[in-house]
């Protein structure tokens, strides 16, 4: 117990000494890590905004199926019930012939006399589907179009839907690629910083190994150094992010009001915690691998 206390004190002391000894490199690595993590978080925020835009647009993507005048009402009712239970479908609304007429009249007040010419209501009843997920639109439209005994026509905003899906997929792929690259760059910077520290202390490492120190005892201070660098970089990035969100985001939202930028405290908190954790993990892992080649004594 006491020995492990001394060991822990040695590990922490050794890590802090190492960081101080290479303070210029340490400072550089912390700043670089912070910049990388801020950029990483920025891309995550952009990705989130794009995802929200996609979801928002998806919500606005409707599908209208016009019901044949001779369709059986029981079939229509059963279908509406079935559609409501489908995933990706937010709302299914039945618009009767009378409702359609009322809507027409309210929208085209000055053209009411057009209808007076006709003896019957020419407007068809319809089923309006409001969707959460634009990806379900093509399949659903095809399915409804096949029901020729129920529907005359199905109106699908397919172009927009496909574009939304395209943007969404592109955003995901590009975002993931950028996130992986930035994590790689951060890892590279930390690995090299620790590698220099390891190289400077290679004699110490060799002696430690020769007298019977375990791999973990040798690695410990370096992993701690990497963790401190990563967490410090992550901490700076988290503070900058919180400040940016507090100061800049309201202005952006005001100027470009259509952008659904997440401003709620939980999102910002999660992003800050994520940044901190990425710093910690990348810093520790980077150091872990930096020391490995010197442990083969």
């Amino acid at each position: 117990m006491l020995a492990s206390f001394h060991t822990t004190r040695y590990l922490v002391g050794s890590a802090l000494t190492g960081l101080w000894r290479n303070r210029t490199m340490t400072g550089g690595a912390v700043v670089t890590t912070a910049i990388m993590l801020i950029t990483l978080a920025g891309f995550l925020a952009i990705n989130d905004t794009l995802n929200q835009m996609v979801t928002e647009l998806g919500r606005k993507s409707n599908l209208i199926a016009y019901i044949r005048d001779d369709a059986r009402p029981t079939h229509v009712t059963a279908l509406i019930k079935d559609l409501r239970s489908r995933p990706g479908v937010r709302e299914v609304r039945f618009v009767s012939k009378d409702d359609a007429l009322a809507i027409f009249e309210s929208r085209f007040v000055d053209q009411r006399d057009i209808l007076d010419v006709l003896q019957n209501n020419p407007l068809p009843a319809s089923v309006e589907l409001h969707l959460n997920d634009p990806a379900v639109v093509p399949g659903l439209a095809q399915e409804l179009q096949a029901m020729t005994s129920l529907f005359d026509d199905v109106v699908v905003p397919l172009d927009i839907v496909e574009e939304i899906i395209g943007i969404s997929n592109l955003a995901r792929v590009a975002g993931t690629a950028i996130i992986i690259s930035l994590t790689g760059v951060t890892l590279f910077v930390i690995v090299n910083t620790i590698r220099i520290a390891v190289f400077a202390r290679r004699q110490e490492i060799e002696i430690m190994k020769l007298v019977g120190a375990t791999d973990w005892f040798v690695r410990g201070p370096f992993v701690a150094e990497g963790a401190v660098i990563g967490t410090s970089g992550g901490g700076i990035a988290a503070i900058v992010l919180v400040a940016i969100y507090a100061q800049v985001t309201p202005a952006v939202t005001r100027i470009v009001s259509f952008l659904p930028v997440s401003t709620d405290a939980e999102f910002v908190r999660n992003l800050a915690v994520f940044t901190l954790l990425v710093g910690l993990v990348v810093g520790s892992l980077g150091s872990y691998f930096s020391v490995r080649r010197y442990l083969s004594v």
């Binding site: 006491l2 020995a3 492990s4 001394h6 060991t7 040695y10 004699q203 110490e204 060799e206 002696i207 430690m208 190994k209 020769l210 007298v211 019977g212 120190a213 375990t214 791999d215 005892f217 004594v297």
Partner: protein, 226 residues
């Protein structure tokens, strides 16, 4: 006890360092490994401490088959075998006291009794007055004794010294050997690799001669040349 059975060692560059070495060093023995440079003495030491692995054959240290040790078990072997290197391998940024205490820290053995242990060790090796000195402030003999102190503080049952007198003047060399004799008298197994003819001839202890990677002579009270 150390037992090498039919040990062959070929380095990756093709150099055949050991060619079927068989030897047994019992507990509390005091043995000289002699032979010209390149004979294979240092390779034997490195195999015992698992700095190197055998190509074929087996190395037994006490009850441990060194050749079958897993990587994470190697530190436990090294805590029982104290190796004193020709170049001392002291940390230049640490004082004598810190160099000796460092081993206890590195092996996780440092506790509240360690201060006394280090002090006693420095007394044994005659370096109490040099405790606060750095290696560059010490003579070759004092550096050698610091290295012995580092092995001694862990109370290793086996001490192996690779050319302990190689970089020392005659007096310092003798002091070092006398210290090792004293430790042997207290029960430590001591193995000394050397090509110091005078030393071996004067001591008349067990001599194992290595030549071209083979044991060519093993005498219980031998001289440098049989």
């Amino acid at each position: 006890m150390i037992v090498l059975s039919d040990v062959h060692k070929v380095y990756p560059n093709g150099t055949r360092a050991l060619d079927g070495v068989n030897l047994t060093i019992p507990e509390r023995d005091f043995t000289f490994l002699v032979g010209p440079s390149g004979a294979g003495k240092t390779t034997i030491i490195r195999l015992i401490n698992r700095d190197e692995t055998v190509t074929t054959g087996s190395v037994l240290v006490e009850t441990t088959d060194v050749t079958r040790l897993r990587r994470r078990e190697v530190p436990h072997l090294r805590r029982r075998v104290g190796v004193i290197y020709q170049d001392y391998k002291l940390l230049p940024s640490l004082t004598v006291w810190q160099n000796v205490a460092f081993v206890l820290k590195a092996t996780g053995e440092f506790d509240h009794t360690s201060g006394d242990r280090v002090r006693q060790t420095l007394e044994t090796v005659g370096l109490s007055r040099r405790a606060d000195h750095y290696p560059h402030q010490l003579s070759g003999g004092e550096q050698q004794r610091t290295a012995i102190g580092r092995a001694l503080v862990r109370r290793c049952p086996i001490l192996i010294a690779d050319e302990p007198t190689g970089n020392l003047d005659q007096d310092s060399g003798w002091e070092t050997i006398q210290l090792l004799v004293k430790l042997n008298a207290h029960g430590t197994t001591v193995v000394i690799a050397t090509h110091n003819r005078t030393l071996v001839d004067t001591m008349r202890r067990r001599v194992i001669e290595i030549a071209q990677g083979r044991v060519v002579r093993d005498e219980s009270e031998g001289g440098y040349v049989g």
